[in-house]
């Protein structure tokens, strides 16, 4: 039977509670119990406590498995964002922008509004072209 992470965490809590309940009995009836009885209860307590910790370990593994697909998706998005940032830093883009800006500057000096608009668009395209 395959457990979900929630079930594993729930089992961990149950084992812990049982271990605590046994401990409470052992300590509250300390004088009534023989050393052998104390030892038997104590062994069961440690065993239950470690079962609780084992369940925690299992639950963590299940949570990691359950969210592996989201982890991969986020990893791809992060890589894409990093490439976008790299794009922004690419010298090629800067050169393209510089070239486009020269055209725009020339259009401004020539006082040609049509050419200004066209070259401004060229500058924008050069700055925003996607080379990822």
């Amino acid at each position: 039977m395959k457990l979900t992470s929630e079930e594993a965490f729930e089992l961990s809590r149950r084992f812990r509670e049982l271990s605590v309940a046994l401990g409470n009995v052992r300590f509250s009836r300390w004088k009534e119990l023989s050393p052998a009885q104390r030892r038997t209860i104590e062994d069961a307590e440690w065993s239950l406590l470690n079962a609780s910790s084992d369940m925690i370990t299992s639950a963590v593994g299940i949570v990691l498995d359950e969210t592996e697909a989201s982890f991969r998706t986020l990893q791809r998005s992060t890589d894409k964002a990093k490439r976008a940032l790299q794009t922004l830093k690419t010298v090629r883009r800067v050169i393209n922008v510089a070239i486009a800006a020269v055209g725009l500057a020339a259009a401004i000096v020539s006082r040609d509004p049509g050419a200004i608009a066209k070259n401004a668009k060229g500058l924008f395209d050069a700055a925003t072209e996607d080379d990822t």
Partner: protein, 280 residues
């Protein structure tokens, strides 16, 4: 003088035309950057993972030797999970770092390259040195406006496509912190009690009992400090997830004043919580 005024007017016209054509403006998203930076720093905090992996070894000092083989097995299993857990932290850190860089309002430093057109203008005798200087400034402004627009589009895309997996990944880490790491501290407290209580109950030496109780309380205080760190870290993760959700909800209006104020508050809260956490 008239020539200078004419240049100024031409520059104003140029700026207006360019910005209208580009259809973008420079927005100050510093608050988003601030939120992303502190989130990235917080995600890099991995002390709790180390404590989780070392838990079985710490338990050995309280548990009888009959349990040590089982604890060794647990150690191996947790050590095998360590890398996957650290990768979660690293991914959240990298993601928030990328988000912060996309939100930055500072252009990447390529101003020197943008000086090229001004020089080219002079070289081609399109204008004199004064005009070229003015045009260089204008080119920088236009270039910045265009890259800002591009960044914001990329930022919107990143937030839109990442919110769902981001909430899943951060949510999973929070569940691990809340239930696994906190569960460990509860088991640790029980182990400490189980270790000291029988010795205390069997002892008839009052001074010895007092000393043992003091030792026990010191150990319990250490565990409670770890527990506090877990509570704080859980809150940090909640804030990161909630902040990202707000960005997602307002992704088409990222320079919204209310959103930026909220991000600034989130960043302050996170920084305060994270500073406390580092001291523990």
């Amino acid at each position: 003088m008239r020539q200078t005024q004419s240049i100024t007017l031409r520059i104003q016209l140029f700026l207006l035309t360019g910005l209208v054509v580009l259809g973008v403006g420079c927005a100050n998203l510093a608050a988003i950057r601030e939120f992303a930076d502190i989130s990235a720093q917080s995600a890099a905090h991995t002390a709790l993972v180390t404590q989780y992996v070392e838990f079985p070894e710490r338990q050995k000092q309280f548990q009888p030797s009959s349990q040590h083989a089982r604890l060794d097995q647990m150690s191996r299993e947790r050590a095998a999970q360590k890398e996957r857990l650290l990768l979660r932290h690293a991914l959240i850190e990298e993601y928030m770092d990328a988000l912060g860089q996309l939100a930055t309002d500072e252009p990447v430093t390529y101003d020197k390259d943008i000086d090229a057109p001004g020089k080219a203008i002079v070289a081609n005798k399109f204008a004199g040195e004064n005009d070229a200087g003015a045009l260089r400034s204008v080119s920088k402004i236009l270039f910045r406006a265009s890259t800002d627009g591009w960044r914001q589009r990329k930022l919107r895309e990143l937030i839109a496509e990442s919110n769902s997996p981001f909430q899943e990944v951060v949510g999973a880490l929070k569940r691990i912190v809340d239930q696994a790491f906190a569960g460990d501290t509860e088991n640790e407290e029980i182990a400490i009690r189980n270790y000291y209580q029988p010795i205390i109950l069997s002892s008839k030496d009052k001074a010895g009992i007092a000393a043992l109780e003091e030792w026990r309380d010191t150990r319990l205080a250490e565990v409670r400090m770890r527990r506090q760190a877990i509570t704080d870290y859980s809150e940090v993760l909640s804030k990161i997830a909630s902040g990202h959700q707000k960005l997602y909800d307002k992704r088409d209006d990222l320079d919204n004043k209310d959103l930026l104020q909220l991000m600034s508050r989130y960043a302050k809260h996170l920084r305060k919580r994270f500073d406390t956490l580092k001291k523990l």
